[in-house]
Amino acid sequence: MRNAAKVRSEFVSTAARSGLPPQPPHARKMPGPAKPLNVLAPEVEAERQRIRANFDSGSSAKQTLHALCELADNILGLIFGDVMKIHEAPEEGLALLALGGYGRRMLFPYSDLDILFLFENEKTETEFRPFISEFSRTMWDLGFRVSSAGRTIDECKRIEEDNAEFHLALLDRRFLSGDQELFDKLDKRILPPSEKQSRSFLFSQLHRLTKERLARYGNTIFHLEPNVKEAPGGLRDYQAAFWLRQILGDRPDLRGSTAADEGMAADAVEFQSAIRCLLHYGNARNDNTLSYEMQEEAARRSLAVRDGIERSAAEWMRLYFRHARTLNRQLLRYLDQKMAQPVSLRERLVNVARSVTRPEQQVSGAHFAVRAGQFEILDQPALADRSIIYSLFTEAARSGTMLSRDAERIINYVVSHSELPARNQVMSWEVLKEIVAADYPGMALRPMHRLGILMEILPELRAIDSLVVRDFYHRYTVDEHSLRTIEHLQALAEPPDARGTQFAPIWKMQERRDLLIFALLLHDTGKGMPVENHVQGSLTALTSAASRLELAPEEEAEVRFLIEHHLDMSATVQRRDIFDPGTVSAFAATVGTLERLQRLCLLTYADIHAVNPEALTPWKAEMLWQLFVATANHLSRSLDRDRLHASDESSLLEQIQSAADAPKTEIERFLEGFPRRYLAMHSPPQIAAHFSLYRKLGSAPIQTELKAERHGFSLTLLTADRPRLFSTIAGVLAAWGMNIIKADAFANAAGVVLDTFHFADLHRTLELNPSEVERFQKSLIEVLSGKAALEPLLHSRESASRARPLKVAISSAVSFDDTASAHSTLLEIVTQDRAGLLYDIGSALARLDCNIEVALIDTEGQKAIDVFYLTSRGKKLEPQKQEVLREVLQGTIS
């Protein structure tokens, strides 16, 4: 209460003005017939000790709080009566009220006594103030922490807009002593209409204060050392829900809570209250932090648990989180009544657009719909089919739309009642993949975890459910930390601060988010296992999850890599000199490819960020970024240097041999001389498939394979090297209206070229017309084999297509590096992406007699980043040639 201190100081100064000499407490006598303070104080203290002893020997928190409340009520009444009597003050015109928690009879051992002196008018206020000062001082001397305010009855009905806390505390008013009629007047006649009138103000203020409080604690109950009063799930949640219920009144839409809900809430209040009593007694002050030491103590006592089961501190904390979840869920339900959760700018824009065209959007038949920016359930019985629930989560992850609290409540009811028959309960990797690969995976994974569905799909997560692992740096339980990592990544869609800005493009362009998010879900599961090194435990969890969900071997291998190395980048940043080329080279050798580096970098960014809100300092983010940049550059610059010697790869040879049933020497001939990146980018089954194409070259000199992917198609092409090969393929793709997103070109020692192009089918030509797939491949082979000309194809496309509008202007850069490779010159081009760009660049290179040894093509939004390793007549490019090429390329790309 903001005004309490002010009022108290006013009282003290009034007493000082009275000229009474200060007396030591033990010498001062209580007025009138009361006992002297030096007699009363030990009696009060003895009563306090008795209450504490009862609590220590098993009294419930409710009994303890009532006993403390009764003691305070009695002493307040006694002292108040005596002060009034000694000063022969009239009994009318002044009432003493209990407010807030004390008003609700929830007085904790070291809590303040929130009281209000209610005056009939300003005249009585002036008369009584000196007595009140004396009263308050006496209460303090008896060990009661009085926090008092004074108001006339007229002042109580005036809303103080900057002091909502006082008006909220007044909702819990309780008569203590003095003029009962005055209290009744306030309670029955003055406040009800005033509170009704100010309902909206009180609701908005309580909403604001509560949101601010929850945000201070990261909006999560899962803290390692939670504050049982203030943190989400603490007693303040109960208090706020209680007030909200009073303010909102008996609304039909709030009548949904069942007797079981009420019972759970009562149990939760008892549990949290018991902890708070323990903390107050243990710390001998109003300290509400449930520290590790106090968790041990609570578990040792089996505090507030009467099932006779002995629990470790970590197991006991799981009970704490269960109760905290109950209180927090209850509060959020009330908070949601008038105001929905804040939504992102993107959601708001989407919702506005939807509300203009369709006020309600129905998804998946009529099972659920988006209303006011949140998913609502339309057809509860349909949820017996779990695939409907899973499709709702997929939609949430795809659209970034959250489930309403009611939708969650309905799903919770369905999934927690085992007597309700469930169909299609098993979630396949294909469905889970859709969720974890989406733009907003956290939007689905968090409610799935809250509802226990995630642990049904991934029982490996049970080990870390609400798990407290003592750590100086971590602030959250292990499962909460894991979910936060995912939310930090999805937030990169609109980076909330400068730390994320640099990492955002890597996230946005990430092709295999599913692997990254899946790795994040499991990366710390080992912390809940009895293993020395949690990484090993997490890898064990991956093995079982991957086998059950039937991940492809190459998918499991990628996730395994991320989990196994999830601490490496952070350790390198913190313990190695990242500006030392040796450090960068060693780290690059660990990660192997740019794709893995990107995923590991994002994982590290998210992992540090989710430790606590301050963990990812701008300093650390910068160090991480520097290591990423240096390693990425190292990888693209050493591409041509690290060539494969097939005889060194015995294990790979065996795997391919068993898949392809071919002589080892033939496989060696195929692999010999490819850049090592080729190995790192492709799994043994993929390499075996390439080898199969290679073996067919004898019958058809150009082998192609076209596959549909998440963002388009991939084309793999094998053939003997020839002039203009790369640019011709790029030209055919451009002529068909395909936008090349990524590409690479490798050649082995025998001059066999393996080119892979990933492209978006801008006009959905191949997607909508399966017959066109064959025509496309035929057209490609005809152009490459010289049976058809490319130019007419390109010309028809140019006249049909329109230039894409520029969203961001990219300034072009052309740079050469002669030091990156022993026998090639590295060319890097960064420029605005456009249709046919790669063809134009490739043609320019061919015209100037440049041979592409290796190519690495990438696109970031509208920015094209192309790296080529070039030779001319088998040698590096001469400086003069580089200058001519630079000039030609600048003309081509500008």
């Binding site: 913190q574 313990r575 160090m623 520097q626 940049v629 970031e860 980043i865």
Partner: protein, 112 residues
Amino acid sequence: MMKLEAIIQPSRFESVKDALREIGIEGMTVTEVRGHGRQKGHTEVYRGREYTVDLLPKIKLEMVLPDKLVNTVVDTILQAAKTGKIGDGKIFLMRVEEAIRIRNEERGESAL
């Protein structure tokens, strides 16, 4: 009493901390800082964009020591933080007039 401030390479921090712990020094204030002395920054180019690192990341250690420990601590930091390259950092020593422990108002070296 002396106040010691050491600016060291981030990569040497763990070694320095371990070495100090071995000689019984546990208390210190650690700050992530940026700066440069003779070791100038450098420029990295990534995807066509230049990233200039003119202020290099360093770790600053601060501790107040009884006079008799100063030389030992300085030697320990020198040994653990030195790589012999430019950028290893610096140690600064300043005299301290008084130290007061807030909890019990102890003063002087016993407050350290």
